[in-house]
């Protein structure tokens, strides 16, 4: 397997995540898209670690997984609070900071 195929997969996943973050309205789905982006990065890290025979990429991937878990915890709490306040998970309605 060539490195390129991993990178293409990773780019595809990342772009899907970006699209989800920008286009989705539902806060939960936005969080999921963020996960997609994070995992795209993870694929990159692991791929390069394997390619360069350097363990530090894998270590970083592990860090990312850990932090992603924490991030999901905080993110889901925020989404839950938004839902409670707005009676909806729709992020377009959260525009109180409008100038």
């Amino acid at each position: 397997m060539a490195l390129n195929q991993y990178l293409v997969l990773s780019a595809f996943l990342f772009c899907t995540g970006v699209y989800g973050v920008l286009a989705r309205r539902n806060g939960v789905l936005v969080l999921l898209s963020v996960e997609l982006m994070l995992n795209a990065v993870n694929i990159n890290l692991v791929a390069f670690a394997a390619f360069t025979k350097n363990i530090s990429g894998q270590v970083f991937a592990l860090f990312v997984i850990t932090i992603a878990a924490a991030e999901v915890g905080v993110g889901l709490a925020i989404v839950l609070l938004i839902y409670r306040n707005m009676r909806s998970p729709d992020l377009d309605r959260v525009d109180q900071l409008k100038g």
Partner: protein, 683 residues
């Protein structure tokens, strides 16, 4: 000491500076400094006097041995010389401006007289001016006054004389106006200053003419040249006439005498000083100092009539007549001074040089005595009033010392034998009679008659009759009476040093010595003339005494001036002082002042006001333009424009701030995309 006489004026001048700066902080408010310095000057003047007399007597003794008679021979023939001490002040080309002292008989006599009278006036003032609000200031000026007069006396050149002359004028101005809070006093001071100033212009022109005529400011040189005939008669006549105008202004001669009676506004000791020792005798002194110029200029040797004698003669009579109509005791004395100064100027005019300065010498004592006596009367008798008719009378019982000394002074002034005034006045009259001036002998006799009469009136109104004032009159304290007694003794004794009847001519021997003079006549004592002059004076006293003491018996004469139109007109004419003041103020001063005032008013209205208004209007216009253009358009425009621009920018930017997180994220990613593209394109 004769060559160090410069110390004598310097001491009071130093006293003036000390009093001015530290006087107020001293225990006696500066009076002690004033009296110490003037006292030291007096001691030095006495030493100078003694040494000078020694010098004259020694010289006479030597002269007699070598076959010369008196000290009067010219210096070139072994005569007595003056003591000069001078140095060059500054030099302009060949012309040297020296400053120094010239001590001859005349200067020695004046030094002694000025310092003595000034010292007595100082002592007297400590009580008379007690509690005055400008006590220190008064003593400072009194010191400067004395110093200025002494400078004038010792001066060896005409410029120094001019400096002393002007300083004396300034000091008398300041002291006459001592109580300047009251308008008449400051008016009197200004009048004294301006009137003498008219004469000063003459003095200045005279000095300048003499400088070009003689090529020097040195008095000895000028006198020598005038005597030798090195200066043409025309030039001498011009300079003598100009100097005479100076004398007229300073010594209160007709027609510039009007300032002198008004000068009574000053404190009485100042009047005594002005009238006896300092201010007014400066003119006579100048006449005696530059006598050869006058003698040759007015051709005095020819007899007849000349300007100097004429002015003096007129002054004797008009001054004496005016003394009759005064209510104010000091004004009587002031007019008496005018009249006596007339005697001195007339004496100079008729060639009686010794008699003139002898009269100056004796007059100083009895006139100072009379003024200080009047001050004593007002201080202790009449509650600071000088009005004889309403506040005095009968004071002889309450003030015996003042009364006796005042009467001695009056008799001396009237020329009664054997008091000082007799000897000096008699000498003037005798000289006038024997050197071809018979008319002035008669004028002098008329003056003697009038003098005796008005002094009798003055003494009667002050000391006899019933006391008309209020309060308790009492004798003055000792500080006031001691100077009176000293002056009374001098008034009695001073005449005997030139009592020709007894063959004593010491005054002439001592004080004529080393003065450059033309050959003068020294007539011997003339018994008939002396008897006539004393008789005339006694008749004057008798008539005045009869009119005043026997008033009740006079009947038809009482109220004469009210009933008789001619007498009333004459009285009014005298009361208005011959209308001379009106002539000066309303005709001369107004005639000059009114057109000047009109022109000044026009100039003020049109030129100055026009300029001021123009500037005002221009400023207003510029201000309006500035407001409209600079302030409103530029400054406000910039401020408002900045605010509007900011507002518009903000309005545009608020679309970016939508509050939607996803849009921010889009912007973020778009920016990352653009930057990545840019990075890629670059590399």
């Amino acid at each position: 000491m004769l060559s160090n006489a410069w110390l004598i004026p310097l001491l009071p001048a130093a006293g003036f500076v000390v009093i001015l700066f530290v006087g107020k902080h001293l225990p006696r408010k500066g009076a002690e400094v004033a009296i110490t310095t003037v006292g030291a000057s007096f001691v030095l003047a006495c030493i100078v006097l003694v040494q000078w007399i020694q010098r004259v007597e020694d010289h006479d003794a030597h002269g007699a041995l070598r076959g010369f008679g008196r000290a009067l021979l010219p210096a070139s023939e072994g005569g007595l010389t003056a003591v000069d001490h001078s140095f060059t002040w500054w030099q302009n080309g060949a012309v040297k401006f020296a400053v120094g002292t010239h001590i001859d008989g005349l200067a020695v006599m004046m030094l002694f007289m000025v310092t003595l009278v000034s010292l007595l006036v100082h002592v007297y003032s400590t009580v008379y001016m007690e509690g005055d609000r400008r006590f220190t200031h008064y003593f400072a000026l009194l010191n400067l006054f004395t110093a200025s007069m002494l400078l004038l006396v010792v001066a060896d050149n005409t410029l120094e004389v001019l400096i002393g002359w002007e300083l004396v004028g300034f000091c008398s101005f300041a002291l006459i106006g001592h109580w300047w809070e009251e308008k008449p006093n400051s008016d009197a001071a200004v009048k004294a200053f301006l009137t003498t100033r008219v004469g000063d212009v003459g003095l200045m022109i005279g000095i300048i003419v003499l400088f070009f005529a003689a090529g020097s400011f040195d008095i000895a040189a000028i006198n020598a040249k005038a005597l030798n005939g090195d200066i043409s008669h025309t030039l001498l006549l011009v300079s003598a006439s100009c100097l005479l105008i100076g004398i007229i202004g300073k010594s209160g001669q007709f027609p510039l005498h009007t300032w002198l009676p008004d000068a009574m506004a000053g404190p009485t000791p100042v009047s005594a000083l002005i009238h006896a020792a300092t201010m007014v005798v400066a003119g006579v002194y100048l006449g005696a100092r530059l006598y050869p110029v006058f003698f040759r200029g007015f051709s005095i040797a020819n007899g007849g009539v000349n300007a100097m004698a004429l002015i003096g003669g007129i002054t004797i009579v008009i001054g004496a007549v005016l003394a009759f109509v005064q209510r104010d005791i000091k004004k009587v004395l002031a007019y008496s001074t005018i009249s006596q100064l007339g005697y001195m100027v007339m004496a100079l005019g008729v060639g009686a040089w010794v008699a003139a300065i002898f009269h100056l010498f004796t007059h100083a004592f009895f006139k100072a005595l009379l003024f200080l006596g009047a001050g004593s009367v007002s201080h202790s008798g009449s509650h600071h009033s000088f009005d004889m008719k309403s506040d005095m009378g009968g004071l002889r019982k309450y003030m015996p010392v003042t009364f006796v000394t005042f009467v001695i002074g009056s008799l001396a002034l009237a020329g009664i034998f054997p008091l000082a005034g007799f000897w000096s006045k008699d000498e003037i009259l005798v000289t006038a009679g024997t050197s071809g001036f018979t008319a002035f002998l008669v004028v002098g006799l008329v003056g003697a008659f009038l003098t005796a009469a008005y002094m009798t009136r003055c003494v009667y109104l002050t000391f006899f009759g019933e006391f008309r004032g209020h309060g308790e009159p009492h004798e003055s304290p000792r500080t006031l009476t001691v100077p009176l007694v000293v002056l009374a003794v001098m008034s009695v004794a001073a005449g005997f040093i030139n009592a020709e009847a007894f063959g004593v001519e010491k005054f002439r021997d001592w004080f004529e010595g080393a003065v450059s003079l033309p050959a003068l006549q020294h007539p011997a004592f003339d018994y008939p003339k002396a008897v006539i002059s004393v008789t005339v004076a006694v008749i004057g006293i008798g008539i005045a005494a009869y009119l005043w003491f026997q008033r009740e018996e006079l009947g038809p004469f009482r109220g004469f001036t009210q009933r008789n139109a001619l007498a009333r007109a004459g009285y009014r004419f005298l009361e208005n002082k011959y209308y001379l003041d009106d002539l000066y103020e309303k005709v001369i001063v107004y005639g000059i002042k009114a057109p000047i005032a009109r022109i000044s008013y026009w100039f003020d209205q049109h030129v100055i006001d026009g300029a001021v208004n123009g500037v005002g209007r221009g400023t207003a216009k510029v201000a309006r333009e500035t407001y409209e253009v600079v302030d409103q358009k530029v400054v406000d425009g910039a401020v408002n424009g900045l605010a509007e621009t900011t507002g518009e920018t903000g309005g545009l930017l608020r679309y970016v701030q939508s509050g939607r997180v996803q849009r921010y994220a889009l912007t973020l990613f778009a920016a990352v995309g653009v930057l990545s593209l840019a990075l890629w394109l670059v590399y």
